[in-house]
Structure formats: C-alpha cells, structure tokens
Amino acid sequence: MGVIGYGLGVIGAGLAIGLAAFGATGAMARQPEIQGRAFTVFILASAFAEALGLIGFVLTLIS
C-alpha cells in the first residue's frame, strides 16, 4: 500500500521537475547566453520539487 502511495506522491514531483526542465530548455533556446544562470536556477527548482517526492519516499519507509 505504501509503495502505491509513494507512486501517487511522486507524480507531482515528476510533473514539477518536468515543468522546470521545460522552462529551462525554453529559456536556453531563446537566449543561449543565459545558459549558466538558467541551469543553476533549474537545479535549485528541481531540488525543491525533488524534496517533496523524497518526503513521500521516506514516509513510506519509516511508517
């Protein structure tokens, strides 16, 4: 049951990281000179989103 819950929870995090990558690649394609900064912001944003997915993972394990 817990594994199913984690699967459901990770949908949101997956969508969020996908959206972040979408925005970052779009920005890089429009303005290649912004690549470095866009990549940093992308890593930051995916770290935030990833944390939400990991909360689900850890809750599955410890509860």
Binding site: L44, A47, F48, A51, L54, F57, V58, I62
Partner: protein, 265 residues
C-alpha cells in the same frame, strides 16, 4: 527469480541500519552513529579551517587553499551579496558556517562506510531551529519585536484582509524551519537508502557466482553489472545532491534573513 525473494528482507535490514541506534550510552544520553559522524565532521571542519588560516598567504597557493577560498568566495558573492544584499557583511559568517558544515557532513556521508551527520532528523532540525532563531532575532533587532510582528503582514492591505494575511504569514513563518529540516533530512536519508538498495541488487545477483563458480552462475551475475552501472550514476547524482542541498539550505536561510530585515515587507 529466486534472487528477488531475499530482497524485501535485505531492504528492511538496510532501513533498520539507517535508523538512529546508540553506539555508546542510550538514546537519551549517548552517541548514535549519526552523532558520531557529526562529531567527526565537526573535527574535520575545524581542522580544515585551522590549516586554511595557517596556510593563508597574500597570494593563495596550492589546490587546498584555493579550493577552500573558492567555496568561501562562492558563498560570499552568490549567497551573501546576491541574496541578502546590503548588510551582507554581518550575516556572512553565519551563512558560510552553515554552508561548509552541511557540505562537509554530506560529503563525509558519501564515503562508503561512513554516515552523513545530516541524515538524522534531529541534526537537521537543530540546524533549522538555529536558522529560525537567527533570522527572527535579526528581524526583531531591526524593527523591534512589535514592529517585526507587524511587518509580517504586507503594508497597504485594507483592514479586514490585513489580519487574514497576517495569520497566513505567521503560519508560513512557523513552517519555514520544518521545511528546512525535512528537505535536508529526506534528501540525505533517501539518497543513501537508494544507493544501498542498488548495491544490494548488485550483490544479490553476484552472490551465487562468488559461492560457486560455474558458467550458469556467471551468466546469472551479468545483471549485477547493470545494477553496478546504475549505482555509479546514482553515486554521481548524490555528489551533486550533497552540494546542492547545502547550497539550497544556505540560500533559503539568506532569503529568510533578507525577508526578516526588509523594510515594509
């Protein structure tokens, strides 16, 4: 397929291994394996800084001095100057300490056989609590206690909405240390569980080969090569995560300090 039969038990064993267990004393007074590695990290941190201060010359020489200086300048320019803005000089020591401490903890956890001090919820909660007290203290110092409480609600909102927004802002203020603590803890804990599971996978398939060498067992051990490759990739990702999580914690601390000190938030 009998390789997978042993998997749930191994995973349970792995998770049990990662929960805090006392190595000396008991859970109330004593050392858990996490606090032991936390102490190790603190000692490493102190030694690195002492050596760095001693070796410092006008023109930095060598990989070590330049490397530490690069990290410190990174915090100074990217986090302190970039996020806190004016008055960054006062907050720079705090931010640099937090960044380097978490970084050293995370990297020590990546050495096989060691555990990250930040992989226990108690440690990250303490770090987050220190950050919380720090930015509330500086907010109160800047605006006064009443002024700080008032500044939580944005200026220029009409009366009844004002109170409503203030309540929401107080909730978000109280949630900040919790999210800080849980983000760091979950990243370190989950990252190590994932690495552990993949090494278990690699070991399970290779086990028959180690016990008894035959062509059948050699073919059966082939999947463990794939698991090993994935393990290496995950390890590389964890190297990035160790750095990014230290960076995220520091940036968020800087953002909260900046918000607390901002005029007319």
């Amino acid at each position: 397929m009998d390789a997978f039969a042993a998997l749930p038990e191994e995973i349970n064993h792995l998770v049990a291994e990662f929960s805090s267990a006392p190595v000396a004393g008991d859970l109330t007074v004593g050392l858990t394996q996490y606090s032991f590695w936390l102490l190790v990290a603190a000692v490493v941190f102190a030694v690195v800084m002492a050596v760095f201060v001693k070796k410092q010359t006008l023109v930095p020489r060598g990989v070590f001095v330049n490397g530490v200086e690069y990290l410190i300048e990174y915090v100074q320019n990217d986090v302190a100057k970039g996020v806190v803005g004016t008055g960054w000089r006062r907050h720079f020591p705090f931010l640099a300490t937090i960044f380097l401490f978490i970084l050293i903890n995370n990297f020590i956890g990546l050495i096989p056989g060691c555990k990250p001090g930040t992989g226990a919820i108690g440690c990250t909660a303490a770090l987050a609590l220190v950050t919380f007290v720090y930015f509330v203290y500086f907010g109160c110092k800047k605006h006064g206690v009443i002024g700080y409480l008032k500044s939580l609600a944005p200026a220029g909102v009409a009366f009844p909405m004002n109170v409503f927004v203030w309540v929401i802002e107080v909730f978000s203020l109280l949630l900040r240390p919790i999210t800080l603590a849980i983000r760091l803890f979950c990243n370190m804990f989950a990252g190590h569980i994932v690495m552990g599971s993949f090494s278990i996978m690699a070991a399970i398939f290779a086990e028959p080969l180690l016990e008894h060498f035959s062509a059948m067992n050699a073919v059966g051990a082939l999947p463990s090569l794939a698991w090993l490759a994935i393990l290496l990739i995950i390890y590389a990702v964890e190297l990035i995560v160790a750095f990014v999580q230290a960076y995220v914690f520091t940036v968020l601390a800087a953002v909260y300090i900046q918000i607390a000190e901002a005029e007319g938030h």
